[in-house]
Amino acid sequence: MKVSFPHMGTSHIAFKHLIEHLGHEAVVPPNPSKRTLSLGVQHSPEFACIPFKILLGSYLEVLEQGTDMIISSGGVGPCRAGIYGLLHEKILKSLGYDFEMLIFEPPLRGVGDFISKIGRVIKPGGVGWIEFIRVFKITWKKLLALDETEILSHRIRPYEITKGETSRIFDQCLYLIDQAQTQGEIEEAKIESERKLNAIKQKEGYTPLKVGIIGEIYVVLEPFINLDIEKTFGEMGVETHRSIYLTDWTRDNTVFDGEKNIKKAAEPHLNQLIGGHGINSIGETILYAKNGFDGVVQLAPFTCIPEIVAKSILPEVSKKFNIPVMTIFLDEQTGKAGVQTRVEAFVDLLEHKRRGKGA
């Protein structure tokens, strides 16, 4: 069976591993491109947000390659993304594609449903439950290695002396992790990646500005949509810390220390679920401020209600915790100039602010 899944940052490397080791052929979605965007926009409702359109475009690209099954995630709470999977399926089927769409809801919403869906993936490949759990654990290791390597790359990029070197080395690291198959190999690939990144020639005696990146998960994770904002900051000598990684709930996160803390921090300003990552955006801004970050950038898909609500609360948070926040709404634009201008201006603002403090 040919199985595919959404493209989100670097996670496809781990998902490919999972699918292949369950006895299927993995159809890795190509990096989102202008073609993905055009395909997605053509077949999406005009008012849908950009993650919907990019995902649909991605699915069309993998279906062209003969995919039999697409695995995606659902969601709960007042955000449209919860029904995106269903709508994608309807649109794709009406276009004449014959495939199975498997939408995983959070396991606690229905354990039976969750288990039966896993069964539908592993049975056709002749894989038993014990083997599935073993493969899943290794996949998770791979995801962790990917995230940890990426986090390190964002820490090193602002110090690089040769512009673009970190991104080049990071691509090599992704290749290494992709090649690794066993737990031992993944560990080795991770250590080698760290060594390669640390070997990049770096500026000394330099304290970069630190910017936290918050907002809706898909636009935060996918560089094609956020116009490489982390790379743009990094190459201007600014360190970024991203609020969302897929492995967040097991990795030690020194800034946030868990979802509960984020919600607790947000509570005085927003105490109810507004869908998506709305509460997170508030809580994370506060935690970034408390952890000495210089500024925060909120990334939001155009028309995203949770982020719009968060945006209207952020000015009061920004004032109270004395941390500048810049919001960027993302849609179909692929021109980088607009984001570049705003990022440059934001960095100027943060530099002046820091100098003003006498730091």
């Binding site: 190509p30 991104s167 155009f302 810049m326 100039a337 440059e344 201006a345 100027d348 602010k353």
Partner: protein, 318 residues
């Protein structure tokens, strides 16, 4: 006399200023870009060469605006700076106690919040261009009024018509409906000004502390109707600096001056760049499905700059 050149090349207008050591503007030029920045930059240089006194010695140049990189390469800039910083720098020199800058240009509008001369917050329209100069331009020509008279006409209105300002496309159709009902031209024009201001305050101005002194600048500040609509909506005095249309260029010139005084190096290539042949040629990179349009800037046959790729491989190879 030592002077500094500031260049602001935007989507609609190209502005040049020459300032002295102590910030006096000795020459200014405001021309339309007309989608041909290279040609416009060259005619700007030529104008300055013809009109400037021989005693003026340009020590350094600074560029800003959406074509700041292109301009920087052609004229040889010491500083290439984003518009927000450039505008803020100009205002903090001209009106040191200003706390809010409202700026509306051709394609974008921004708000800059200053406290003690330092930018503490800003916003710029992102996805929607409703409420910018281009939109006013279009509507003025649709109504058959020269843009220069637009503002005066708006001031004559006694009962501005309410026009939907949320989106320029909807604004246009709403405006046509109101016209067909028989409303006066001046009431419609005034309504349009109010709609634009409402949209600006709800969009870029959302959640910002708009404290006095408030400075309004950019090409649209020439429009008295918009100025009046701002004062009405904010119920505060809104001042317009004398050099409102070239503030970005003034900021760029100040930044060039600071840079020159610090480094002692001038990168300015001279007025005679006006006679050189510059050409932009692009090609589509087929390295990945992004099919980036990579732009090469040539001076005669020499490649002097390159940009437009997403991955950076072309830029780094230049």
């Amino acid at each position: 006399m030592d002077c500094y050149l500031g260049f602001d090349v935007g989507s609609v207008s190209t502005n040049l200023v020459v300032i002295t050591e102590d910030g006096q503007v000795v020459e200014r030029l405001y021309i339309r870009t007309k989608g041909q920045p290279i040609k416009t930059i060259k005619s700007g240089l030529e104008y300055m060469r013809e009109n400037l006194d021989n005693s003026i010695d340009i020590k350094a140049a600074g560029t800003t605006g959406s074509a700041r990189n292109l301009t920087g390469v052609i004229v040889g800039a010491n500083v290439i700076k984003n518009e927000i910083t450039a505008h803020a720098v100009a205002v903090s020199r001209e009106i040191p106690n200003a706390q809010t800058i409202l700026e509306i240009g051709g394609q974008d509008s921004k708000i800059i919040v200053l406290r003690s001369g330092i930018v503490t917050d800003f916003a710029m329209n992102t996805v929607c261009a409703a409420g910018t100069g281009s939109f006013l331009d279009q509507q003025a020509s649709r109504l058959g009024i020269p843009i220069e008279e637009f503002g005066n006409l708006a001031l004559q209105s006694e009962n501005p018509v309410r026009i939907a300002g949320r989106c320029s496309v909807f604004a246009e159709s709403d405006m046509i409906h109101k016209q067909q009902l028989g409303h006066n031209l001046e009431d419609i024009v005034a309504g349009l000004c109010e709609a634009l201001v409402r949209n600006y305050l709800n969009n870029v101005g959302k959640g910002k502390d708009i404290l006095e002194p408030i400075v309004f600048q950019g090409g649209v500040a020439a429009n008295k109707g918009i100025h009046a609509a701002f004062e009405k909506a904010l119920a505060k005095e809104v001042m317009i600096p004398t050099e409102f249309s070239v503030m970005g260029a003034i900021g760029a010139a100040y930044l060039a001056k600071n840079n020159y005084l610090q480094t002692g190096v001038s990168k300015f290539k001279g007025w005679d760049m006006a006679d050189q042949n510059f050409a932009a040629r692009s090609f589509e990179c087929k390295g990945c499905p992004n099919l980036c349009e990579v732009i090469n800037i040539f001076q005669d046959d020499n490649l002097i700059a390159r940009w437009g790729g997403r991955c950076g491989k072309w830029e780094h190879a230049c």
